[in-house]
């Protein structure tokens, strides 16, 4: 996969500040989407994945702190950098408590902002790459060798896995017994930023059932959760 640009959602209602931030972040090589109020930000976040959100606090329609809280309640773990004119320690504590990862007060230093943005994105990348799945994973009578992209099923067949199949298996196994949303799969495995309605994942899951399930019509391991996503179950 070619190195994709990191994307940033910038929520700032002061037009001139938005312009200047956009220019600087774009010149650093980030892909920028900007909006000017809290409700618009939430709407955009529902449809697209971003590597970071730079968020102002005093916003029309819905303030930044509420945006932060809502994003976290929706189980979205996008890194959030709050950029605010409010600089008391109580304001900072509130922002961080409501789920922000970093808090920078206006006026700020450009270099400092760029460094913080870079660090937050890098750290998040590293976190999402880290999995607890061993290179040789066994479930039931099935065995997956992630290093060699090979699998053995209960019937004793050897299956050659594609890179994408291995990535998806790793993601599902890493979140075993939890629902993994379509958006998360598309973003993590395919690197889609915009979420299309696609049957791609369904086809992959059907393949997994073919490989590993004894009864494909009543799967035990690879479950589809209607309207939500997919689950690798060990129960």
């Amino acid at each position: 996969m070619p190195q994709k640009k990191h994307s940033i959602l910038l929520v700032e209602d002061e037009e001139n500040l938005q312009d200047a931030l956009k220019l600087n972040l774009e010149l650093e090589g980030y892909e920028l989407t900007a909006c000017a109020d809290g409700l618009a930000a939430l709407k955009i976040l529902e449809q697209e994945h971003f590597d970071l959100m730079v968020l102002d606090v005093m916003l029309p329609e819905l303030d930044g702190i509420s945006v932060c809280e809502t994003v976290r309640l929706q189980k979205n773990d996008i890194p959030i950098l709050i950029l605010s004119a409010k600089n008391s320690s109580a304001d900072r504590v509130l922002g961080l408590k409501m789920g922000a990862d970093d808090y920078l007060t206006k006026p700020f230093n450009l270099e400092e902002l760029l460094l913080r943005v870079e660090k937050l994105i890098k750290k998040n990348d590293q976190l999402s790459l880290k999995t607890n799945v061993p290179e040789l994973f066994v479930f039931g009578k099935n065995k997956i060798d992630f290093n060699g992209l090979l699998a053995n099923n209960s019937a004793g067949q050897e299956i050659q896995l594609t890179k994408k199949e291995a990535m998806l298996l790793k993601l599902l196994i890493d979140h075993k017994n939890e629902v993994v949303t379509r958006e998360k799969i598309l973003q993590a495995v395919w690197g889609y930023n915009v979420f299309p309605t696609t049957r791609t994942i369904d086809n992959f899951i059907l393949n997994f059932r073919k490989y590993f399930e004894k009864d494909q019509k009543n799967p035990k391991y690879f479950l589809s959760i209607r309207g939500m996503g997919y689950k690798f179950s060990t129960h």
Partner: protein, 325 residues
């Protein structure tokens, strides 16, 4: 803030507790005194021999005295009750008013922090951008004009702050001179057109119209009104300003096509620090000083200012000022 509201709750609790205590004590004293009065009367009646020829007259006198004393207790008690109630109401209102003022001042501090820091942040960021990046001419031009816009904004805010504190202290020198209001409006509007080249500002002008006024103050009032119209209306909608000559007076109208002002807020917006809605729901930022100053300035010119609804949407600020030949 949490601590403060706890303190206020305690103050209100003490207030209601004391009030309740005073009223209960008043009632208790009335009961105690009237009991004492009755027993005194009974005692006096028992002291009179029933064989006494004037028995019934004496009893009547004692009863009469008892009744008069009861009436006296009731009368004095009621006056006390009324005085204490009036005092309590007065105190309650004064404290409430103070609370509202202090809350508005707190909001004002938050607003002023934002209004001052944002232009500083933009200016700093723009200068740092120019220092760090190799930009083409168009980009440089945009950054510089944005920076100038922000410094104008800071200047306007400083003017508002200074003037409002001068007016509070009664230190502002109102210096009227004969001025052409049409020319003054033209210069203010052309300044706004330069600052906001993408906004449409229409001016239905008039021939030269003269009035006695303070150029600096009137300019500031017009600036604040146009600034508000720009802030509170969509970018693709025009701002319409008109100057009409009526008998011995002129009428200046600033109309926008924003969401307008509710009837309940039409007078309140001229109060110091008053801002429509709560801090969280406000669609644009401000300090609550602008319209207050406009009001004070127009009053200082013995003029009138009021708000009406614009058609199909938005608000119209109408100023009426006396003209001179």
């Amino acid at each position: 803030m949490f601590k403060k509201s706890k303190k206020i709750k305690l103050i209100f609790f003490i207030y209601w507790f004391l009030l309740l205590y005073i009223f209960s004590a008043l009632i208790w004293w009335y009961i105690a005194l009237s009991r004492q009065n009755t027993s005194m009367a009974n005692f006096k009646i028992n002291e009179i021999s029933k064989q006494d020829a004037a028995y019934s007259i004496k009893v009547w006198k004692i009863e009469d005295e008892r009744k008069r004393k009861t009436a006296q207790y009731l009368g004095e008690g009621s006056i006390f009750f009324l005085l204490i109630s009036a005092g309590a109401i007065f105190l309650f209102r004064a404290v409430n008013k103070q609370l509202i003022i202090s809350r508005q001042q707190q909001n004002f501090m938050v607003a002023i922090t934002h209004e001052l820091k944002t232009p500083i942040a933009v200016t700093k960021l723009n200068l740092e951008t120019l220092q760090k990046r190799q930009l083409d001419e168009a980009q440089q031009h945009k950054i510089i004009s944005n920076t100038i816009q922000e410094s104008n904004r800071m200047n306007a805010l400083c003017n508002n702050l200074l003037l409002s504190s001068q007016m509070e202290a009664g230190a502002h020198q109102y210096t009227p001179e004969r001025l052409d209001v049409n020319a003054l409006l033209q210069s203010v509007i052309s300044d706004f057109k330069n600052r906001f080249p993408n906004r449409v500002i229409q001016f239905f002008e008039n021939a030269s119209l003269y009035l006695m006024g303070d150029v600096f103050l009137l300019q500031m009032a017009f600036n604040n009104l146009i600034d508000n119209a720009i802030k509170y209306s969509p970018k693709d909608q025009p701002i319409v300003i008109s100057l009409e000559n009526q008998q011995n007076q002129c009428s200046i109208t600033f109309a926008d096509f924003g969401s307008g002002i509710q009837d309940a807020d039409k007078k309140k917006v001229f109060e110091k620090f008053y801002r429509i809605g709560t801090e969280a729901t406000q669609k644009a930022k401000g300090t609550g000083l602008g319209l207050y100053l406009v009001y004070r300035i127009i009053r200082a010119h013995k003029g009138k200012i009021f708000i009406t609804d614009n058609e199909p949407s938005g608000a119209k600020f109408v100023i009426q000022l006396k003209t001179v030949a």
